[in-house]
Symmetry: C2
Subunit: 343 residues, 2 copies
């Protein structure tokens, strides 16, 4: 398979290369060629892949000659160029929010709605990180018990704002520890030892776009607009892995044991739920992990037969790079990649 | 007034002395004498108050000869000794959870249920920090619109575990920034750049005691057991101020504007809710502040006519020291402190 990464030098680009390498190593994807693209500023850099040093090129403003384009260079770049990249047959798996709500563009979490990927018209959207992590745990519950209401509060890591977000947390925390004032550039306010309930732009209804994405994208991925979803999205001073407290009202009552058993066999989920053993989802243990950790499973105190749970998922992986590569793997497994002549 | 502080050398003790000094400066409480008590380990230390250096004495195992005892030395110390401290007429305002659920002991947030304080039998309980901060915002809403369901997710600072909690965050973060592994003692897991959904002991129902306290104490303070309350309590790497995402289902529908207006005149509340101006509650701005910041007020997406909001309150102040001193002020204002002869 011939793969291209657009945005290769960013935090997600870095993870994409690692996840691709791991996919190749376990015999899932066979990467015949990897093209790396980034902004002119980063062009010329070399990045190691499969024992070779690959040179980063400037993102093309035309078709990309590859089977799969993994795009993670931001919404405006994708909006302007993704259709051109795809114009000669490449399938673009786009990590931005540019196309997620287009009726023509499948929004895919392979464990949840993989078959949707096969309906693409050149572009497949990778969901918002918070949503991708939540639905891996919520989808099996919805299928079996019917989710009526879903209330989410997030604990989002600085790498949600890319490598620069992590760098800012580290640099500014260092300053604070040495008695200096923290400044800020990537975040709206200083992030060290702070909590910022503001991610992405505010909408007219008082919710941020990040919060609305969780509602919009949960509806689209689960294929059910009737679920009432709300979210409070909060940036906290962690490096990677988004955590989420989720309260679910269910159509059919469920017990915590039933949910534990259900999620125990759910793909992409690691049930980590042993309070006595001090086991529950945390960034410390979920970071770098493919599976989303799910724990603190307990009976809701506000909805009869409802369920509360806590999830932690590495948003650079399941929330971004891993999910994108899993979409590529899904397409390959289902014979949906017509590899070009000459490869 | 003759005041004693038990636990004077802890984080809350430190705040108590500052808040008392400020109360005296603005002419509210007149402190004729301040006695400082702590464990034998800390006895003999001197702490400055009102221009004098006061010597810390060993916590007595008998009556304390004062009008008000502000106790913040942990539940087991209070449980063992508070009745003795109060046995000769001192009123004990206890910051621990030892007596909060006793029918005989009022649990008081002065802005919300001040008159309860007057019914004391020697001991008045100061609520759990998370609850105190939440009810300041929720009580006025409950009075006017009737809260049916209340779903809380917390972002709790390390100072909830006292000075040692803050010290551990700072020390261990410093280690991580210098490439070393973080260890832990005050918290169940390393706290730097981590999130720990485990505060206080797990109960049989899968909730932590911290989470249940929010339900139990909200019921007692609001005098209404019919409200359905749930909480997910999460420790995050901040120094002080607990933040909380709160979703409210209401008996009578309210609009965000109505709630903003209502809370704009509520005692103990600072409405900080201007997304365009990047104004919302944050530890960065709420720390050191008496009022609880309330913002992100918006119409619920899951409950018709319901309300979502975000609060941030300095839990060493409103969640502990300030509330305790405000109870003393309330008692004084209502002539409920019979100052002893000779003072």
């Amino acid at each position: 398979m011939r793969v291209a990464i657009v945005g290769a030098t960013g935090a997600v680009g870095h993870e994409l290369m690692q996840v691709l390498e791991q996919s190749q190593q376990r015999g899932s994807l066979k990467i015949d060629e990897l093209q790396l693209y980034a902004s002119p500023r980063s062009a010329g850099k070399t990045l190691p892949f499969g024992g070779q040093d690959l040179t980063v090129q400037v993102t093309p403003e035309g078709p990309i000659d590859a089977d799969i384009v993994l795009a993670s260079a931001g919404g405006s770049v994708s909006l302007a160029l993704a259709h051109q990249w795809a114009s000669e047959g490449a399938i673009v798996i786009d990590n931005s929010s540019a196309f997620r709500y287009d009726a023509d563009v499948p929004l895919v979490v392979p464990e949840v709605n993989g078959p949707e990927a096969l309906k693409h018209k050149g572009i497949i959207a990778n969901p918002n990180c918070t949503t991708a992590i939540a639905v891996v745990a919520v989808a099996p519950i919805h299928r079996k018990y019917g989710v009526k209401r879903m209330i989410v509060s997030t604990y989002q890591a600085t790498s949600g704002a890319g490598q620069k977000g992590m760098d800012e947390l580290l640099t500014e925390t260092h300053k604070v520890l040495h008695g200096q004032q923290a400044s800020h550039q990537e975040f709206v306010h200083p992030i060290p030892f702070n909590v910022i309930p503001h991610i992405d732009a505010f909408q007219d209804n008082g919710y941020t776009k990040e919060e609305m994405k969780v509602a919009w994208e949960t509806h689209k991925i689960l294929g059910d607009d009737s679920i009432k979803v709300s979210c409070t999205a909060v940036r906290i001073p962690t490096l990677r892995t988004h955590s989420e407290a989720i309260t679910l009202e269910l159509e059919h009552p469920a017990t915590p044991d039933e949910i534990r058993e259900l999620l125990g066999s759910a793909p992409g989920v690691e049930v980590r739920d042993n309070p006595g053993g001090k086991l529950y989802p945390m960034p410390l243990t979920a970071s770098g992990k493919y599976d989303v950790e799910v724990g603190r499973i307990r009976q809701s105190l506000v909805f009869d037969g409802g369920i509360d749970l806590f999830v932690a998922g590495d948003q650079l992986l399941k929330g971004a790079a891993l999910n994108a590569v899993q979409i590529a793997e899904y397409l390959q497994e289902h014979g949906a990649i017509k590899q070009k002549a000459g490869v």
